[in-house]
Structures are given as structure tokens and as C-alpha cells.
């Protein structure tokens, strides 16, 4: 009996570890091969504060959480800039260093011998020793961590983490600081792992480095992925299946090392087969567990939002809305922007035209902070935004779209738009946990707003679908709705009509006109000259990083010299 209670306890501990890792790996898409290291650091912190400082139980857990959270925050900094295989390797290196320290820093950790005689916790007058006595505590902690993980994952905060996972540049472009959320999720993930660590240390009353090695980290990553990333239920299922079921092998009556090997063999093969045939894991991301209202809005009641919110101030707002002076940017020997100056008159459509490679997209990147210019200034309504981070520029009212759309592909259409709405209380841990009513209220309002933006572009009925399942033209419209949702009043559209057929072009042109009518200032980069003539009030003609002409679009089109540059018929 005790044995099966022990198995239950281990399932609980692994569920906590998996849930904490899922926030990092499943939601934010940050692969960490160092979760066992954080687990270990928490366990040692618990063991040492309990044995050497004599702290009582809940305090040892608090100490472990604080210490691990801080360590996670510090370690994050080198990990902020890297992704993919670099992050795998960086966290792997961290795992190995921590593991090596556990083995080698004998004065502190007693090396291979490990730390024994960790005091048993006392709760409500009972000293917890047996698995049965621990079970309520473990289950309570697991339930608590599940609630936290679920709350974060299914909140506006979880939405931004998924946005970071799907596309970092696009996350910046909707005005969210990728850096901030990465640090946050590393810290939360580390802190929650320490909950399991503290329980583990007290439960075993003995720890040594071998519980916290690379194999354990790999196991945790696999558990989360097989269970189902970005779904806390999946992790619980994963813990039950991969920690609980293998214990049934004990009935084989074989030697322990053979039993372990059979377990690993099956586990490894499952990992290979799942990646091929069911990469989403047991419980996929969009499966809902509690019969909550699904992502599909009932009745799409969203009225078309008041896009004119900013136009009330338009009367006394500075004009031009945006002006750039003498922008310069060189890449090696190539001059991408050469003494560029332009202004976007408020409430008008301005176009940037020119042949391929003229530097039009570079201009957008320079204006919005995605590239730092070598010289020159960008002013947004009188505020200098030249060297601001892209997400800050968006918050100040200047947002851009991408030529290659860059939706958050694994998120729903509605979530794509919702993510872009600024100042959501549910994006911060404080309101999320301590003012849940305010967060829920804001979320309800924002949903209405987002549905309104979708209705504006004519896609309200697709709100519940996963973004990548939409046709390219529809994706462009979602990207436009997302751009509007940033509530910026200067919008830079990078080739809004490229790659879509005439039907979509008409629709997009109509939307641009309506945006301008509601007080937005728009700048488009566009190859389709008919689009430019149809919608733009003013155009700049670029070639080789310089503006060589400006004027009304039809005037520019009539200029033979420009037409030759544009169509490349000129013989030199």
C-alpha cells in the first residue's frame, strides 16, 4: 500500500516539475535542458536551510523558491538573445555546470555522498514521515501549482507567452516587451520547480546530485512534450503515464536494472513515434478540459469599434504625424538608407514606392526601431523615438505590419488580435492573482474590442480558428486587425496588397480608406502601382537607399525617368 502511495507522491512531484517546465517550453517556446538543475538547486537550498539553519518547513520552501527564482532570473540574461539549438546548448551547459558543482563543491554539498538527515516537516502537529502522511501535502501543492500554471497559461499573460513562442519580432511589433516576458517566465518556472524541490528534499530526507542530472532534465522535457505542450492537463496526464504506469512493470519480477531499461526503451521509442505521428502530445494545445466557453465567440456580438478614438485630439495633434530627418544606415559596404527625410501628414495615406531593393522595408525598420539608424532622427508627433525599442515605439503610437504577414500561427485568430490590445491587467502577475475580477472584466471588454476589429476586417466568424489554417488573403486581414488593435495612430503597412488576388485587394483598399477616414495616419510600401494611385495622397520614390522624387502618385507615374528606373528598362 505504502508503495502505491509513494508512486502517487512521485506523480504529484513530477506533475509540479512538468507544469513549471510547460510554462517555459510549451507556452513561451523556450527549450530548457536545465530544469533538473533548478530542481536540484531548490532541493539543496531546502536541505541546507532545514538542516544547517534549522528553518521549519514552510519557510524552507519559501527560501528555496526565492533562491531558485533569483538564480533563474540571473541565468536568463545570457539566454535572452538566443533561440533554438543555441538555447538548448546554453541550458545544457548550465545543467552540466550546476550538476558538476553539486558533485565538486564538496564543502557545501558533500559531493556524491549527498545530504542526509534532512529534518522531517511538521504540519498541524504531525511530523510527516510516511508516504501516506505526505500525500495530502503533495496533492495540495500539486493542485496549487496546477491552478497557477492554468491561470497563467489561459490568461492574457499566457497569450503573450505564446506570441513570443510563435514570433518574437511580431510580438515586439504589437508593443510587447519580449525581454520582460522571457525573464518573467524563467523566474516563475524556476520558482515553481522549487516547490517540487522542497517537497522532494523533505520527503526523501536525503538528496544527492544523481537525482538532478541531465537524464532527469531530458525526462522532464519529454514528459511535457509527450503530455502536450501549452496545456497543463497534458502535463498531468504525462506525469501519470510516464511516472505511474512504468511502476506496473514491477510485476514482471525481473531484475531492477532490466526493468528500468525496459521502461527507458519504451519511453524512448514513444518519443520517436510521437514526434512522427502525434507531435502535439496526448492532450493538444487547443483541447479544453473544463467545458469552459471555447475560443469560438458565441454570436460574435462585437460591434465595430470606435476607431476614431484618437481623432478627437486630431484637431490640435501635431502635423506631420511622423517625420524622419537625414536617416542613414549602412550594412557593411551597402548603403541601405542615405540621408533619408520624409514626413507623414496626419490623416493621409503616404506611399513609398521604388524598385526591389531600394530600401523601402529598411525605412520601416528604421522608423519603428527594428533597426537603429547610424544617424538622423525620427519624431513621432513631436516625440523623439529614434533609439527606442520597437515595442516602446508601438506604445507611443507607431506600429507596423510585415510583408510576410507573421501571424502567431498556432494561436486562434481572436487571440492574435487580442494579444495586441495595450495595457491589459491580465498580462501582469499582480492583477492576475490579486485582482482577478478586474482582470476578468478587462478581458471581457477586450474580447469585445478584438471581435469588433475582426468584424471591421470582415472576419468575425473566423475568430475561433487557428491562424495558420486561414488563406493567405485572410491572414493579411487578420494582421491588419492585429495592427489596428495596437491602437497606434500611425500605421505602416508593408505591402498590404502583395500576393493576394483582386478581390482581396479591393477589400484591403477599402479598409485603408476607412482607417484614414477614422483619423489614422497610414504609410504603405507597395509594388502594385494601381494600389498606390488608388489610395495614396502622396508618394515618395526611392532608389538605392535614397528618395529621388516625391509628389502625387499619378504625377510620379507619369514621369518617364522614374518609370524606367522602376521597370528596369533603362540602358546604362
Amino acid at each position: 500500500m505504502d508503495f502505491w502511495l509513494h508512486v502517487l507522491n512521485m506523480i504529484g512531484l513530477f506533475a509540479i516539475l512538468g507544469l513549471s517546465l510547460n510554462l517555459l517550453l510549451g507556452y513561451a517556446g523556450l527549450v530548457s535542458m536545465a530544469h533538473a538543475a533548478f530542481f536540484g538547486v531548490g532541493a539543496y537550498a531546502t536541505a541546507l536551510t532545514a538542516r544547517d539553519l534549522g528553518l521549519p518547513f514552510p519557510l524552507t520552501m519559501v527560501a528555496a523558491i526565492v533562491f531558485t527564482t533569483i538564480l533563474a532570473g540571473v541565468v536568463t540574461f545570457p539566454a535572452l538573445r538566443v533561440r533554438g539549438e543555441y538555447l538548448i546548448l546554453l541550458t545544457l551547459a548550465f545543467q552540466m555546470v550546476i550538476y558538476g558543482l553539486m558533485l565538486s563543491w564538496v564543502d557545501l554539498t558533500a559531493g556524491r555522498t549527498g545530504i542526509s538527515a534532512i529534518p522531517r516537516p511538521r504540519l498541524l502537529g504531525v511530523t510527516l514521515v510516511t508516504p501516506a502522511q505526505f500525500l495530502p501535502l503533495v496533492l495540495a501543492c500539486a493542485a496549487g501549482v496546477f491552478t497557477i500554471a492554468y491561470r497563467i497559461g489561459e490568461s492574457p499573460l499566457g497569450r503573450i507567452l505564446k506570441a513570443v513562442r510563435d514570433d518574437e519580432a511580431a510580438t515586439l511589433a504589437i508593443g510587447k516587451s519580449v525581454l520582460h516576458y522571457k525573464v518573467l517566465v524563467f523566474c516563475v518556472s524556476g520558482g515553481l520547480a522549487a516547490v517540487a524541490a522542497a517537497l522532494f528534499a523533505h520527503y526523501q530526507a536525503f538528496i544527492n546530485p544523481f537525482s538532478f542530472n541531465l537524464d532527469r532534465s531530458i525526462f522532464l522535457v519529454a514528459l511535457v512534450v509527450l503530455g502536450g505542450t501549452a496545456n497543463p492537463l497534458g502535463t498531468v496526464v504525462g506525469a501519470i503515464v510516464f511516472v505511474g504506469l512504468p511502476e506496473l512493470l514491477r510485476f514482471l519480477q525481473a531484475r531492477q536494472d532490466i526493468v528500468d531499461a525496459i521502461r527507458s526503451l519504451v519511453f524512448g521509442l514513444l518519443l520517436v513515434l510521437f514526434m512522427r505521428f502525434r507531435p502535439e502530445g496526448f492532450v493538444p494545445e487547443h483541447a479544453r478540459g473544463f467545458g469552459w466557453a471555447g475560443a469560438t465567440p458565441a454570436g460574435a456580438s462585437g460591434a465595430i469599434p470606435d476607431l476614431t478614438g484618437s481623432s478627437e485630439v486630431a484637431a490640435d495633434a501635431p502635423d506631420p504625424a511622423l517625420s524622419a530627418r537625414n536617416l542613414r544606415k549602412r550594412f557593411g559596404g551597402i548603403t541601405a538608407a542615405d540621408d533619408l527625410s520624409l514626413a507623414l501628414p496626419r490623416g493621409k495615406v503616404t506611399a513609398l514606392v521604388g524598385p526591389n531593393g531600394a530600401g523601402k522595408t529598411t525605412v520601416f525598420n528604421l522608423l519603428t526601431g527594428f533597426l537603429i539608424p547610424d544617424g538622423g532622427t525620427v519624431e513621432l508627433g513631436g516625440t523623439d523615438v529614434t533609439r527606442r525599442a520597437p515595442w516602446r515605439t508601438v506604445r507611443l503610437g507607431l506600429a507596423r505590419s510585415f510583408q510576410d504577414v507573421r501571424l502567431f500561427e498556432r494561436m486562434t485568430v481572436l487571440d492574435n488580435v487580442l494579444a495586441a490590445i495595450p495595457d491589459q491587467p491580465g498580462e501582469r502577475l499582480g492583477p492576475l492573482f490579486f485582482a482577478p475580477r478586474r482582470a476578468a472584466e478587462a478581458e471581457r471588454r477586450n474580447r469585445e474590442k478584438a471581435l469588433g476589429y475582426l468584424a471591421f476586417v470582415g472576419l468575425a466568424d473566423r475568430a475561433g480558428e487557428v491562424a495558420s489554417s486561414l488563406a493567405f488573403g485572410e491572414q493579411k486581414l487578420v494582421a491588419l486587425a492585429r495592427l489596428i488593435a495596437t491602437e497606434a495612430d500611425v500605421l505602416l503597412l508593408d505591402e498590404p496588397a502583395s500576393g493576394v488576388d483582386l478581390h482581396w485587394i479591393r477589400r484591403i483598399l477599402d479598409l485603408i480608406r476607412r482607417l484614414v477616414a477614422s483619423g489614422k495616419t497610414v504609410c504603405i510600401v507597395e509594388h502594385n502601382l494601381e494600389v498606390v494611385t488608388a489610395v495614396a495622397d502622396h508618394a515618395y520614390f526611392m532608389e538605392a537607399g535614397r528618395i529621388i522624387a516625391e509628389g502625387r502618385p499619378d504625377e510620379l507615374m507619369a514621369d518617364r525617368r522614374l518609370a524606367e528606373i522602376y521597370f528596369g528598362t533603362v540602358r546604362r
Binding site: V31, L89, A222, R276
Partner: protein, 290 residues
């Protein structure tokens, strides 16, 4: 003190040469296919066990054992690419998923070997081990063989990559997959080729290792971690970089003993990797790409 430093430097160069070979064998695959091929460790283990079984059980000579290890490694690598990775590419698996499949293969393979051969270490007999003294430094004949074999293979490989058609095709795919495709190089064939060559090399490198350290089901992981470090230290896509990275790693691990107690040796490698990834993510000889 100076004699100690010389000895440690010699040890560093010896292990560093083997790391260089390991690094090149993995880096060739990684740079060309972008697969984070963790199961390279399994290829090594399988090849070593093939050599051990042939030499120890069937009484085959050691040179034949090396040839067998190379052949088995090569075939196992090819099978991995065909049976595991290619189907994953076909369904557009993410890099993370391919990496996880690789891990799964490694875990399953190590367990299978443990079930088949037991957990105990197995010796690879047949090599006359004695000491060689060369001025202030001393090493064993095994280590001498490491040095000779590693450099012979490295030079052969570099020559092949530089002066043959297939070698140039590999370097083309490694530097720009799309562009290489445009000039008529079939990346699928090149993938097979690098898996064949890289896996054969790691089979030989593993067997060299087993001469000194004996074979066990988990023999593969540590050398392949060293290979990762050598590659990222030197710069992805650069053969010379991986060689340099391997040598630096070997030297750092051994020379570290001058200032740190011996049991810290395992940490040094990863501290080096950590620092490189932070301060020079493109590696020492790598091309900085965005």
C-alpha cells in the same frame, strides 16, 4: 611545475585531438542538415559494441575491429537519417521535435544495448599498451594511437572536403542550403553522405576511446557532449573551427588542473561552452549570421 605543465599540455593535445575528430564528425552532420543529432552518441555506442563483440567474442583482429566499427557506424547513421529524420522532415517537424526524436532514439538505443549486453563495462582487448617517454612528457601507446589516428583521419577528411566534388558539394550545402539547391546539388543526397561519413568517423573515434576507457551502454554521451562544445566553440560550419575547438577544449580541461582540483575537470568544459555562447555565439572561426 614546468614539467607538470608540459605533461598536462601533452594530455590536453591528445584528448583534444580526439575531441577534434568527434567534433568534426558531429559538426559535419549538424552544419549540413541542421539536425541537432544527439543520437550521434548512440551511433558511437553501437559501433563500439560491434567492435567489442567482433574482437572479444569472435577473435577478429583489432584492425578489422576498427574497420567494422566504421562500417557499422556508417550504416547505423544512414539508417537513422532514413528511418527517423527523413520522415520527420517530410511532415515538417519543428527543429525541437527532431531534436526530441533524436533524444528518444538515444534513450531507447542505450536501453536496448543494456538489455542485450548487460550494464557492465567491456574491454576491447588486443592493443599492446606500454608507456612512451618523450622528453619531459610521458603517455601510453593507446594515446599515441589516438593522436596519430585522429590527425590522419582529420587530414584525410579536410583534403576530401576541399579537393573533391562531393566534398565541395557538402561545403556548399553547409554554407547555403537553398543556393546549393539552385546549382543542382540534391540536399537529400548530401544529407545521406554526411551521415555516412560523420557516423563512420564517430565509430572509429568511439573505438579509439574504448581502447582506454572500456565500453559500456552509456559510453556515447560524454564524447558527444565534447563534440557539441568543440563545434560551438569553433563555429558552426567550420571544419577548422571544430578542430581548433576540440584542441582548446582538451587543453582547457587538462591545463585547468594547474589551478583547480582534479574533480572540477568536468565543469570546465561547460563553463567554456557557457562563456562562448554568451560572448561569441558565432564561435571562434564561425561566420556571423543573423
Amino acid at each position: 611545475m614546468l614539467a607538470l605543465a608540459a605533461q598536462l599540455a601533452a594530455n590536453g593535445l591528445i584528448t583534444g585531438s580526439l575531441y577534434a575528430l568527434l567534433g568534426v564528425s558531429w559538426g559535419l552532420i549538424f552544419a549540413t542538415t541542421r539536425i541537432f543529432h544527439f543520437a550521434h552518441a548512440l551511433t558511437l555506442t553501437v559501433a563500439v559494441y560491434a567492435a567489442v563483440v567482433a574482437v572479444d567474442r569472435w577473435g577478429v583482429g583489432l584492425p578489422a575491429g576498427f574497420v567494422l566499427a566504421a562500417a557499422v557506424g556508417c550504416l547505423f547513421g544512414l539508417a537513422t537519417e532514413r528511418v527517423v529524420y527523413r520522415p520527420l522532415r517530410r511532415v515538417d517537424a519543428t527543429q525541437l521535435n527532431i531534436f526530441l526524436a533524436s533524444l528518444g532514439l538515444l534513450i531507447a538505443g542505450e536501453s536496448a544495448i543494456l538489455i542485450a549486453f548487460g550494464p557492465q563495462a567491456r574491454e576491447l582487448p588486443g592493443f599492446p599498451i606500454s608507456g612512451i617517454a618523450l622528453g619531459p612528457v610521458a603517455f601510453t601507446t593507446t594515446e599515441g594511437l589516438w593522436l596519430l589516428a585522429s590527425w590522419a583521419l582529420l587530414l584525410l577528411l579536410i583534403g576530401w572536403l576541399w579537393w573533391t566534388r562531393y566534398g565541395r558539394a557538402i561545403r556548399a550545402v553547409a554554407s547555403n542550403r537553398e543556393l546549393a539547391q539552385c546549382v543542382g546539388i540534391d540536399p537529400e543526397r548530401i544529407s545521406l553522405l554526411v551521415f555516412a561519413v560523420g557516423s563512420a568517423l564517430v565509430g572509429v573515434a568511439g573505438t579509439l576511446l574504448a581502447l582506454r576507457d572500456t565500453a559500456s551502454p552509456t559510453i556515447g554521451v560524454q564524447p558527444v557532449l565534447a563534440a557539441f562544445i568543440a563545434v560551438f566553440l569553433g563555429g558552426i560550419g567550420s571544419v577548422l573551427g571544430a578542430v581548433l575547438g576540440g584542441l582548446i577544449l582538451g587543453l582547457a580541461e587538462n591545463m585547468g588542473a594547474l589551478v583547480l582540483p582534479g574533480h572540477w575537470q568536468g565543469v570546465i568544459a561547460f563553463v567554456v561552452l557557457f562563456l562562448v555562447l554568451i560572448f561569441r555565439p558565432s564561435g571562434l572561426l564561425g561566420v556571423r549570421t543573423r
